[in-house]
Symmetry: C2
Subunit: 260 residues, 2 copies
DNA sequence: CGTTAGGTTGACTTGATTCAACAACAGTGG
DNA sequence: CCACTGTTGTTGAATCAAGTCAACCTAACG
């Protein structure tokens, strides 16, 4: 396929799904043939709202976005942060109703894929459906880790864990160097991700800085020792399933070994 | 199919997946033809362990089970509670490695479905794969609500929310009357689900009881006014997606209306 | 009938919140 | 170019929700 040779706006997404299942050339071509509409979104705009039934699924092309919910008394909880290549509301297309909000974190380019096209795609390409399902499973795994992060880690450990997760995911996406990265969130957003107050975020970051666990320069965070940070966080990256290569088909070459 | 006529051990699971996609007779038959091995599990036993690669997926036939993770310093966080008809570790079969533990809450009957059979099933029955995927999406939605529950609700509201969720899910599964239900967890387990201490759980329950929001008799919880409890919890059941009927196929009768 | 798991309560401590003030900075418009 | 404005970040002091520690109670069970 010619489209695979030149840089394409859907490349990141395709590359991700290639890691989630054994796609063949037909699958890849179908992905590249998906219709979509590109939209530029300024920072902090709603992309989908709880209760909505959006017209299509949203794919992040560039920039970052996050999911969140707001409690009855107005407190916000951030649920996840998404990077280019992520679909942020498959739920909206496959479930009846969106159960959470999606908002742009930075300025974003997004692609809206009409629900009809997406549904057809997964009906006609079992491997792609499988890849997306696996993606949903990994999302679930990350949600679980976040439950632990807000439920059972104190602010300090929780913050370090969040920093480790960002680092690892941004690096895997080729968006961060080893030395550190641009933290894409305000302290208020960090607070809403950790289930604490912005004031406390500030104090925790200050203390981490004083201890030398991180070095801040504006929003750029340099980490002198990942080992030290991971230790404070109790960070184990298994839950990100970054190694998730495609599973062999039933009866395939690795199959015996796996069921043993 | 004869097997659909008499009570069958897989009925609950089949009924659930029927709600998740438009299954046809072939799909249903394939589900009933799944090979499995029944196992009796006493309360509080590990069913799967973090880091494991279990030989198959575990389906709960009777009893309750829960997922949990343990932090580096030994604190436990419960991630979800599962009822009969739920697969509790599809992750184990579709991802490389289990990222959390699964334990029986009460005495359980479980069915172990060999990974091979499951993989074949989803390769040969796109609708079943779709149903399971939708199920994974709903699991994800519940995880998100739990992030909110531990992150942004105080102990009192969190407890009420948990009580509402159990009530609603148990009722949907025909396992609770309107008046109340047998709370299946110890106070320590409730604490681990809410990210607080057992002592505090005790005090919160005592206060709710004193206020008349709940009436306790051993572990049986009677709720005089669901309305009142929902209000304290800020409970909105959307996230459970209980109405999740099967989505129409692309081009099906409801399709126009939906993409409009 | 002792043993153990689960539940209950009080006294004290602590991690995090609240409130309030102020500093740094970017963008905007006169 | 500078004053004005809003957002983000920073800090101290007081307060509070939840944690800790420790004692004791109750029911189930071999």
């Amino acid at each position: 396929m010619a489209s695979a040779k030149v840089a394409h706006i859907l490349d990141r997404m395709v590359r991700k799904f290639e890691m989630r299942a054994n796609l063949d050339e037909t699958d890849r071509a179908a992905l590249y043939r998906l219709p979509f509409e590109i939209r530029d979104v300024p920072a902090n705009r709603y992309i989908a709202r709880e209760g909505d039934r959006p017209p299509g699924a949203t794919l992040i092309i560039s920039g970052l976005a996050y999911r969140h919910k707001v409690t009855i008394d107005g407190a916000r909880q951030i649920l996840s942060v998404h990077i280019p290549g992520d679909f942020v509301d498959l739920e909206g297309s496959l479930l009846r109703i969106a159960d959470h909000n999606v908002q742009s974190l930075t300025q974003c380019e997004i692609a809206i894929v009409p629900r009809a096209a997406l549904v057809r795609l997964i009906e006609q390409h079992a491997k792609l459906a499988h890849a997306m399902w696996v993606d949903t499973l990994i999302d679930g795994s990350i949600f679980r880790e976040w439950i632990v992060n807000v439920g059972r880690r104190d602010a300090r450990a929780g913050m370090c864990h969040l920093l480790c997760e960002f680092a690892r995911r941004l690096k895997a996406a080729g968006m961060a160097e080893d030395g550190g990265y641009e933290l894409p969130m305000t302290q208020e957003q960090l607070a809403d991700a950790l289930g604490i107050t912005p004031v406390h975020v500030n104090r925790v970051l200050r203390d981490l800085d004083r201890e030398g666990l991180i070095v801040r320069n504006k929003r750029f965070v340099r980490v002198p020792s990942w080992e030290a940070l991971r230790k404070v966080a109790g960070f184990n990256e298994n839950y990100l399933h970054l190694d998730q290569a495609a599973l062999p088909a039933a009866g395939g070459p690795n199959y015996q070994q796996m069921s043993a």
